[in-house]
Amino acid sequence: MNAPVLKPRQPKDYATDQEVRWCPGCGDYAILKAVQRTLADIAADPARTVFVSGIGCAARFPYYIETYGFHTIHGRAPAVATGIKLANPELDVWVVGGDGDMLSIGGNHLMHALRRNVDLTILLFNNEIYGLTKGQYSPTSRIGTRSPSTPGGSIDRPVSALRLALGAGARFVARGIDTQQKVLPDILKRAHAHKGTALVEIIQNCIVYNDGAFAGFTDRAVEADAQIHVEHGAPLLFGKDRRKGLRLAAGGLAIEAVSLDEEGVEEGQILIHDQTNAMLATLLAMLEPPMPVAVGVLFDSPAPTYDAAVRAQEETERARAGTPDLNALLRRGPTWTMPG
């Protein structure tokens, strides 16, 4: 069979006729753009692509992508997507949801999709707030977040999406930022290319209920010093002139940020990013301001996928059992004949 000839695609080929209903200025627009660009770049076959989402502002996503789409219920998209892959592993399944969707009500399903390693590309839009329900604090909100449900400031500690993912045994973990239109599509392409569950946390600004929550590391003025873009095999350098870097702190299993201009700091001390090293990925995932926030692919170490293993086991069974014959199965074991 010949592979279908795909004509070059444009991001707009992946846009639906539906009016996009996010608030003007919402970070979701930029993510939509980056995803459509990614789909065009990888020439995704719309017929074989499925976007599955939960509920929330983020989860409206499938309505705006010209592929198959299933907008399900709050928190359950990873479970629905798992069923889709069990039915048809050939489909290219993307999962989209917010921080509340995937880390609060659906935290359990996210964890199990990750540990099973179902072949899914999961995009978690983290705006550190419940957007759709009008601004309550979320499980990623920082302590002290004032919201309609926490007028005195939130008091519970937030969860880190990436550390949770690594803890659950994720084999691909990355972070992107909504506005970085050059960087984000590359991260998404990497996630998509990974066989198994790929989790991408996308930092997303909710302009209405949590505006500027990430300004401390996303503002133009500070981003060079406040972010570190990690790349496999390259030294972990950051800063305007890439004169800052990460090295192991003396005497402990910790990372410290240093300047190459400091006394006693040498290039050779700077850590080289190894995306197959789960321990390094964990250390990078732990970086929070005032340390630079890690952006890019922190961990990528493929392992057999659940959906493929399920099929393989079924094939083995079929090979062992021969042609399935239900009539024969019913007649196996003790039977008797009644003369009537």
């Binding site: 989402s53 039915a87 079924e314 009644m338």
Partner: protein
Amino acid sequence: MVSVGAGVEIAEETRSRTSLESVVVRFAGDSGDGIQVVGGRFTLATAIGGSDLATFPDFPAEIRAPTGTTFGVSAFQINFGARRIRTIGDAPDVLVALNPAALKVNLADLPRGATIILDGGSFKERDLKKAGFAGDPRHDGTLAGYRVVDIDISDLTKKATASTGLSSREQLRCKNFWSLGLVLWMFDRPREPILAWLKQRFAKQPEVAEANSLALNAGHALGETAELGPLPAFKVGPAPIEAGLYRTVTGHEALAFGLVDGARKAGLRMVFCSYPITPASALLHHLAGMKAFGVTTFQAEDEIAAACAALGASYAGSIGVTSSSGPGIALKTETIGLAIGAELPLVVVNSQRAGPSTGMPTKTEQSDLYQAVFGRNADSPLVVLAAATPADCFVMAREAIRLAVHHMTPVMLLTDGFLANASEPWLIPDLDATPAFPVRFRAEPEGYQPFARDGRGVRDWVKPGTPGLEHRIGGIERDALSGNISYDPANHQRMTEARWDKVLAVADDIPEQEVEQGETSGRLAVVGWGSTYGPIARAVTTLRDRGQSVSHIHLRHLWPLPRNLGELLRGFEHILVPEMNKGQLVTILRNEYLVPAQSLSKVTGKPFTIHEVEDAMTAALGISS
């Protein structure tokens, strides 16, 4: 009372056997005694003799209760006869008790005059104490009025198996087969199929097969030769059963076969997603062993995920099936709502148990009918079916898949803890004799509208992967044609009606309600659903034999109800609805048809006895029972 010890007198004697129309035997012992195994073997020997039968296992609720305690007692009951057998029998005629605890637990169920065969060897002081007996029930009058056969089964088993060289503990483990041998003799049942089974089952441990065979033969020989005054001997002849090839089947086995056959007939892969819960888990276990038959099984992280994964599978063009019991079904509710809104097929099997909350997991009830028919937020209709007998689970499971895929709707199939575990002889169907009902997925892009409907109100099923049919659906109200998000008031009215009408139209695709027994009009209709089938059927037969104008109507399609049901019910002066709940079907019938249906309610965690139904019937008829 007669004691038979090791030095028993043996006399050559051929006894005359009493003929019985039907008899109820209960095997009971410690959960480690292998009660279920001998129950299953006795069932087979009985079936081969041509009797009709029904069986029910009663497992202890505890996983590993301490040996010899009352909460570690396991039992297996069989009712068999030379007539059609409808129930497991109201009360045992014969109890085999392999330890004092088994006697203690089961004595209350025994009517006076019943026969008790007990292992006198296990009635030592320590055993009695563990079972909670103050004295020895054999000698303190506790067993007065029963026919007691007190045999040192333990000792006789050890003697019979001594030649095998097995340890004394291992020898003792054969006492279940020793007892079985004796019971086989009592009822004149063949040993050969069991000896053959032992050989096959323990092919890798020939010494175990040998020891159990020796024990079985010894128990049988004792019956044949011992001077046992009160050891009764019976004859139970063959029942008038349809000719053909039979096997026994439990409700859960039948469900598994029916689902697989249904998926096969629909031409679909089945993706079965579940989370363990009593008494539903057995279905997951059966299907997990059927992977070669186009079945994918998925043990999800919880019931929500199980329902969601099943729905995802249906969305992707397989038939998604999920299964649980009441508490788990409650968790699936939101997903079922999504299936209703997105109009996707989904089969939900509910093996009901006593509730609310955790309730009594191992005890049976049919109190989830409201949950099935009404138990969701909003106007959320779906199709509800119920299986009546273990074998009926096969037919109804297949029916659930047929209706789900051809009407693009979730279907809830109700069984219960009793049906799931009970077994009965099953005339093995020729699967190829029932027509297939293949699904036709839409592939033509021309004019496609995701929520356009055919004449039955059913939308097209499109498999992702089909070029040109890309579309978006979801839980937010959908435009009546495009499926795009719509908050339009008129559209919501229209879609609510459409979902409702679509499910009601399923009534055109199901059989009209038949009358199980009796005329289509008369003085009293007993209307049942689910596992009350057996006691109702038998009670109705009894009263009809007494010349009463009574009929049995048994519902398998509970929503929508069969088209002719209202008219049928109106033909009766009285309507009695026995249910193992506080009266759920009865209110639905009153509501739908404004008929004066009366409820007969029982919620003890146990099935109705025939007498309970008979008594309610005679009361309704105003005659003496």
